[in-house]
């Protein structure tokens, strides 16, 4: 077990493109960090609620939605209705059914539900009605994030944001305010093309403003769904060369996350132990993938 950090780290897992393995990466990282003894909070920023259902299961998530214990309900109260609400009250601790060495993984969840899409629209309408400019809306969300979300560092070693594809206003704030942005990306033409658009939107010239600062570090690209095909190899070689070039605009994880049935199964709730989730007769994802990825993540967060 590692000692509790003085301040936790905020990590956003993002990409404008969908289907590139963001939620898979979040689940894998959360499980691995928690299994190594860290306390982990997962914040689901995606109205599809994929991370939420992966950790809580359909039934518990339904209870959370019905009880108004989700991110969308909280945002509706705080921003649209200007009511008082304490963010920690919306977090469910020990949500994972996965165990490690006989103990449940210390993973907490701020879940989302399908209403997040509607609430994000409500926020824009409500603030526009209050004569907020676009910059003022961004500034308002940024302030809310700093006041309510950033202090969660004091309670958790890691706060992982599972970002929605596309960039909603709240997702953009989380990306810009995080200590590290992990960009999940498949090494193929379309995903890499989407990476360029994502980079320009968040890190590109003129993308930051007074109300929304630039991220602290360049994006760290994590290759997901890796297959030993010619296209993947060629694309990966290009990414490697770009990341190694002088003045590189992004960093590249050395470890690649393979296309794997074991990893897809890990998103279901079938396995009870961390070891059984990620290791089977054919593949040891813990030794081959998860341990080195987590080591690289920590190295990146430590500023190496």
């Amino acid at each position: 077990m590692t000692g509790k950090r003085a301040q936790g780290q905020l990590v956003a897992v993002a990409n404008m493109k969908g289907g590139v393995g963001k939620t898979t990466s979040v689940v894998m990282l959360a499980d691995a960090l928690a299994a190594s003894g860290a306390s982990v909070l997962v914040i689901d920023l995606d109205p599809q609620a994929s991370a939420s259902v992966c950790f809580a299961g359909d039934g518990v998530l339904a209870e959370m939605i019905t009880a108004g214990r989700t991110l969308d309900y909280y945002l509706g109260l705080r921003i649209v209705d200007r009511d008082k609400a304490a963010l920690p009250d919306f977090i469910r601790d020990y949500v994972s059914s996965t165990t490690h060495l006989g103990e449940p993984l210390p993973i907490s969840l701020l879940a989302s539900g399908p209403s997040l899409r509607v609430v994000e629209r409500e926020i824009i309408y409500a603030l526009t009605k209050r004569q907020y400019s676009m910059h003022a809306i961004e500034g308002h969300l940024w302030k809310l994030f700093q006041e309510d979300f950033a202090p969660l560092r004091d309670q958790y070693d890691y706060v992982l944001f599972d970002c929605a594809p596309g960039i909603s206003p709240m997702t953009e704030v989380a990306i810009r305010a995080s200590d590290l942005v992990v960009v999940a990306c498949i090494a193929d033409f379309l995903s890499t093309y989407g990476l360029k658009a994502f980079y320009e939107t968040i890190w590109g010239v003129g993308s930051a403003s007074e109300s929304m600062l630039a991220p602290k570090r360049p994006p760290h690209v994590l290759i997901t769904r890796w297959q030993n095909t010619k296209q993947h190899a060629t694309t990966y070689a290009t990414l490697q060369a770009s990341a190694a070039a002088e003045g590189a605009r992004f960093r590249l994880f050395k470890t690649r996350v393979p296309q794997s049935a074991a990893l897809a199964n890990a998103l279901t709730l079938e396995y009870q132990t961390f070891a059984n989730k990620y290791r089977d007769a054919t593949r040891d994802l813990i030794g081959e993938v998860i341990t080195p990825v987590v080591a690289e993540l920590k190295e990146a967060l430590d500023g190496a």
């Binding site: 359909d58 939605i65 009880a67 108004g68 309900y73 209705d81 006989g102 449940p104 539900g113 070891a275």
Partner: protein
């Protein structure tokens, strides 16, 4: 002249000079897993054998390997080593793992019912149903029953298992309690 390597000596040599074997680093972990797993699955493994494995490896490496066993394998081993335990047949997988680790440490298995029913003094009366009530529970001088090894964190929820392979899939692929759930109306929510 030797006809075969001394496997143990070679493994010790690899462990003492890992820098000489960089290409097999990950294979060593796999092999170690496989070897200990095979020992744990051996039909001849008894409680003394399990404790010897724990003493040799240490508690954490053994726990990591037990975590990697299938739930059914852990249950089979725990019930084989503690045949008369009343709660093992129906308990959750995490309880089996904890119990197995406790047995490996120092917990004594539950004694057979007849032995436990034997009164401290006087002859045994005619056998009847009363003498086979099953193991005593709760604190006392008798053997321990399964208790969580640690209470630092809450009991894990039972795995919210999806239908295992072989069972028919749900009739409605779009059925989802969460996606059908609606949040409550906010106190100040506008129409």
């Amino acid at each position: 002249m030797a006809l075969e390597i001394d496997g143990l000596a070679v493994l010790c040599a690899i462990a003492e000079a890992p820098e000489a074997f960089p290409a097999i680093r990950s294979d060593v972990t796999k092999a170690a897993h496989a070897l200990v797993t095979k020992q744990l699955k051996a039909k001849t493994l008894d409680l003394a054998g399990l404790r010897a494995v724990r003493n040799a490896l240490g508690p954490q490496p053994l726990a990591l390997i037990v975590d990697g066993l299938k739930d059914a394998e852990v249950k089979a081993l725990a019930t084989r080593l503690d045949k008369h335990h009343p709660d093992l047949k129906d308990g959750p997988a995490v309880a089996h793992r904890r119990h197995l680790m406790a047995l490996a440490a120092d917990r004594d298995p539950v004694a057979p019912p007849a032995a436990r029913a034997k009164p401290a003094r006087g002859p045994i009366k005619a056998p009847g149903k009363g003498s086979a009530k099953g193991p005593e529970k709760g604190p006392g001088k008798g053997p321990e029953t399964a208790k969580p090894a640690s209470k630092a964190s809450p009991e894990p929820a039972p795995a919210k298992a999806r239908p295992p392979a072989g069972k028919p899939a749900p009739a409605d692929a779009l059925a989802s309690a969460a996606m059908a759930a609606r949040p409550p109306r906010r106190p100040r929510q506008q129409e």
